[in-house]
Point group: D2
Chain length 433, copies 4
């Protein structure tokens, strides 16, 4: 995670300020609940909320001494709250604060990612509608196959990111839990009702059973989900990169008038944003593995997960947020060239309809072998002309064809409506409202 | 995936027999739907069901020639069905069959994995109830922390695998889709109603929008989920491995009387099953990555995913099935030693209660500093005795303590019920019924 | 690893036959050395070599009973050797046999992979020489950049696989060690000279210090190296896939005359082999991770590495062998279209030389700004004509140009020799002999 | 990479200051070589060295405008150098600077990592010598096996990190190359002698053939190597964590007197440093994968590798540097408890010698079955006494034993020298000087 690939809102979640604020809220809500149970004086809880303040420089200073971040924070807090501070954190263990805070951060990060996906989906829907019937060649193996529409390509991307959105919601649910259960999760020194109160106030669910820590299978699932979403980013980015190739050029990343490309080489507009997204996807995928290795902590906890999470917590969420925002911008402004799509579609002189012709001739009475031989002969001629000669013209000039099919029928086999007749059906599935 | 780590039911899903049967069903159901729409004669559809048969050796022979597995199958099928076979596969593309079949296989594999988890959960629940109140030391960082119960450890495992189960159900939903949409997903040559019929008959949902293939983000999510479940397997396996250490020996994998261990070295019972599970978890995790890399296929499809899936489809599901079954067997028969748990718990002479003593002394009027000094002095003596001298005895012998706390109160601080008082609460959360 | 992507020579290394033969040789050589030291009777060693035999079905039968593969093998061996068999395996531990055998297998696998690379390098060199001066457009970001030659592309691939070859030799050295050091590596029950003898006979180096096992950092390095080599396979495969795209078509995988493609669609020749290689590369990369996780075995060994290695040992080596062989075949027969390369090179009407023109005009006295404006104007005209109008012609028609540069100089800027003048230099670096 | 896990020397390599200095040196050396060839005036080259300066804030400002980091740097440089600046960068492409700089940074990072390893090796050697004969139990599967020495454990670690050192040197060689070859690697606009000169001055080898970029298989190998080294860090860290367990306590991370642990719980010294190292190893391993995915760039380059490298370049090297330094400090000060090692060794009452007894009894004339039965009976008694009753005493009390073996022979079988007799041999292998 580096500033170049970061956005402020997501980065802010991982700032010391945000972290300490969450720590404070956890502690203060816990005080409220402890006061309600009569464990600490109500005035103490009130004092915490009223005079609760801390100083990051001071916390750093204390931490250098005591080498314990939660103690350092509590000390700085106590310096502001005064005497009532001794009721803070009572019966709690550091992990109660740290783990609950981390989950709050991840849940908030998930909220941003979900909003990112909403933004991307809106753009994809708009562009899909816009190009619902824009014909383009469908390719398998990079080779021309049959016609499709550019809108269908975008509908596919929409459906994929709609699944991403559902996955992110599930991932958020996985992670949005609160544990305030003490040193080994037994609640020996703290009533479970404290946990319930803090959970509710922080917008979390109660972790049904924890050890000293919240179990890391939740986090593994979270980061694995981010890896899958990033892989979908890579897919759409790869599509744009392909479409922008010099020889294809059916679409281009937007290039602002002032942007300094190569002024003397107008063709040198590189799909650098989507290439960048491809790299970012690799990073986010890579973070899923250490998260999975974090699951098997020893006994009631070891702290090996911590160094991993201090890195990949921000790294994965900030990078994916940036990637989704960048992808949204790319798709929003993507310059689409329907004429080039049509030209590419025409490039093979109608060969993409060979199968249909073959079928029609067979149905019109030719044997399978005769039909094959006929079509193959013309197809080869078209191919050798580099698509300059069209298959339709050759067929219309061949009596063996026109004896069996009338010209209108021949022409109909090259009718593109054949390929788009179910576009509405598919759109209705993808965009149900 | 090797026979040593495979179970027959899961392996059968990936057999040629199973695969061709699914191919056949997809084709035959498609014929039914085509007949209903009047595209092919009803008699043809009936013939397919009646005379549908194929021969694997024959398919292999044909495939060696035509290098196309679906064509080879259809040819063998045609040799049995006869003339009506020409109506089979009409308007379909190979991927329609292959991808739908793969998803049927993955969904069936998921069903087995879910059943495996059910079996594991049942065992964990039984063992958890059995040892609900069996005291044992909770450890953080491998160091004794505070008491907990062995039942709570198992409840934690139960909750984790219950989440695994939910994840597997979600993963199954992700993957259980059917696409019969033609060469680039436009339904140009086949009516979407065929897809709907086949989907329903095969127990799948309709894929809202496909290209030539079903989008691979679904599969990435599926295999990533398996990786997370495997990581939870590793966690519980690691716990058993720790507990079986010579110096700990609180539990042991069951060792059958006839099993040839080292007959002259009765201690040499190695946790080989859980070590094996640790390795299997590494494998399953590793398969998640190529699955994520499979997402970014080029345009409407390339076939790079295929070699990956031919391997990790069976590898990941067979390995995880075997691992879950093995873990279930290990936990079912796990030999648990409550006496050793108690002995280990006693090993530190009550030091694990130091914090409680400290708190009590402070509440009884000692300053925080005085209380610390007092407890620390006794704690060090206990520590240096290797736990032979108990903290409770030292406290009861110290007037500075007994002046402030009566002996009953001192003894109460060493009462284990303190640590188990919320076990019922936690169990009620984990096992709600 | 599945038959579809396996070659017999590599697969044979991992057969039970090969494994038991290696086990036998290790044991028999150890007997020789033990006899030399006077630990066992020379006749016993001789008997082992003379009557040494075993039966796989019998071994399986015994293993089902004793659940220990080495004991099962030794029992079957003893049934053939007779009484002298009691001197076999004396002072050794199972891992001495298993680990040394695994390393023999990996070293042999490395030999095949190195030979594979030799074969690939020979093909790449031949094709590079063949197309040393075949002009083609160099592309950055998928966009036309400057001309290069197809031979240079292949020289780059050659240099990369030459590095792969060096890496494989290093990886072989890493892995080719022998340990016969007993239960915890102390040689308590066996003289180090036995190890030295066996190592020499098996073509291995002595492992300087082992525990019960050979340290797994060696294996991690081995499998990581395979992952890197596989990534280079992916790179060249990706290049072929790009070149075969319908719109580019500068090269094609060979398509045999008899091969059943789509007879009516002559363009539908898909780069399925290189797509397949892309998938295989993902698999091999994925195996590197569990190998790295295998390093941190507990204390003097745990057996978690075993299940991993039983899988990835064959999986990684067989898959990479198959991939290298397939890539060699693809490159050997790659159909190369120099005319299409030239046509693509001409596609932009000489725009790829804009920078050179700009420089020449500046040197001829135009200000940087004037030169830019001039070139940009013509470049845009060329671009808008889709390359039909050539930049050179426009320049030759522009007095602002011809006033400063004579026509020969203008033409010279479009001379392709400019781009190939250092091809010999580079070839001399890459192919030094 | 976060400050918490970073050391200044390594971090400095990745600072903007260091990067721009390297860029400058590459450009200035290139000017020298261009001047030598007469391409630019010698005075220009001299001016660059004399007045070469730049301002990071200014560079940032320009980059925000032109969105190109190399142009921004060159502009700032030109503002200081003046008119002669127009001769800078002539014929070069941005990647020439960027890639060569990245390799300089990686080579310098490798130098630090090699020095780190030297430091670690020195410590391991010292501690190994110190505990060369310190007896300790060797464990397989976490279960007591046979005695070894703590020095041997450390010798094993030494040998492993010595291999790491060799690997890092190889990795450095892989990466220490220089390419100044122009837009697609053809040297069309720049003489290869410029590259040779810059390479020599920057301490790099010439890249034999590049495209626009230096091939990324080199970097993949570099980062994969870091992942393997990190895995060895994890192994030794895991050993320490095991040894520090409450029940084992054979060694402990050093805990400074002033360090605030749990003052009332003297046992609560957690192996947090080695746990932390375990997590850091997971991170470094994870970075290897995106590096491998970076290899297959499209054609002569795409820029997808860049975002990956901007992250993992610093992340992997800074994290591994920190980890090696931390591990060195841990091992340097590791508190080792030979008495506890002896106590643990004694824990099983001599059972670890059962095999030796068995062998001796057989050689003394008992049948294998009789010997087994005898040893097994006594072994079980020892085991059931929890090691309180010693095997040696039981044997010495058993006439069936003393009839066949004299007491001295029985005692000799419990002599620890048996296990250490080859320690010198092994040390001589590991520490050859």
């Amino acid at each position: 995670m580096i500033p170049r690939y970061s956005r402020p809102e997501m980065t802010a979640i991982w700032s010391p300020e945000a972290k300490f604020r969450i720590w404070f809220e956890i502690e203060a809500h816990a005080c409220d609940a402890q006061a309600d149970l009569g464990v600490i004086p109500p005035a103490a809880a009130a004092a915490v909320w009223e005079r609760g303040a801390w100083d990051i420089a001071r916390i750093d200073e204390i931490e250098r001494e005591v080498k314990h971040d939660v103690i350092a924070f509590l000390t700085s807090l106590a310096e502001n709250v005064g005497d009532e501070a001794r009721f803070v954190h009572q019966g709690m263990t550091s992990s109660d604060v740290l783990d609950t805070c981390f989950n709050v951060q991840l849940a908030r990060a998930a909220d941003i990612l979900i909003a990112d996906l909403d933004g991307l989906l809106a753009v994809l829907k708009r562009r899909a509608e816009e190009h619902k019937y824009t014909l383009t060649i469908g390719r398998s193996h990079g080779i021309h196959a049959e016609p499709t529409t550019f809108g269908l390509k975008l509908a596919q991307a929409y459906a994929e990111f709609d699944r991403s959105r559902t996955r992110m919601i599930t991932a958020r649910d996985e992670i949005a839990t609160c544990a305030i259960s003490g040193a080994v999760g037994t609640f020996a020194n703290i009533d479970p009702r404290i946990e319930a109160h803090v959970a509710e106030k922080m917008g979390l669910a109660v972790e049904p059973v924890s050890t000293q820590v919240i179990p890391r299978d939740r986090h593994a699932m979270f980061f694995a989900t981010l890896g899958v979403v990033a892989s979908s980013v890579e897919r759409l980015a790869t599509e744009v990169r392909h479409l922008q190739r010099t020889e294809v050029l059916e679409a281009e990343e937007y290039f602002s008038p002032g942007q300094k490309g190569s002024s003397a080489m107008p063709h040198k507009r590189n799909p650098v944003l989507t290439e960048n997204l491809t790299g970012l996807a690799r990073l986010v995928r890579g973070y899923a593995l250490p998260a999975m290795e974090n699951v098997a902590l020893w006994h009631e906890r070891d702290i090996s997960h911590s160094s991993v999470e201090r890195n990949i917590g921000p790294d994965a969420t900030v990078t994916l947020d940036f990637a989704l925002a960048r992808l949204t911008a790319v798709m929003d402004k993507l310059v689409i060239y329907p004429e080039t799509m049509q030209a590419n579609l025409d490039r093979l002189g109608g060969l993409v309809n060979s199968q249909r012709v073959l079928l029609a001739l067979t149905q019109a009475g030719l044997s399978r072998e005769e039909a094959y031989a006929l079509v193959q002969r013309h197809a080869m001629a078209v191919w050798q002309s580099g698509g300059q000669t069209g298959l339709m013209d050759l067929l219309l000039d061949d009596a063996a064809v026109t004896d069996r099919l009338d010209p209108a029928a021949v022409r109909a086999m090259f009718d593109m409506d054949y390929h788009t007749k179910h576009v509405d059906t598919i759109f209705a599935r993808v965009f149900p409202d």
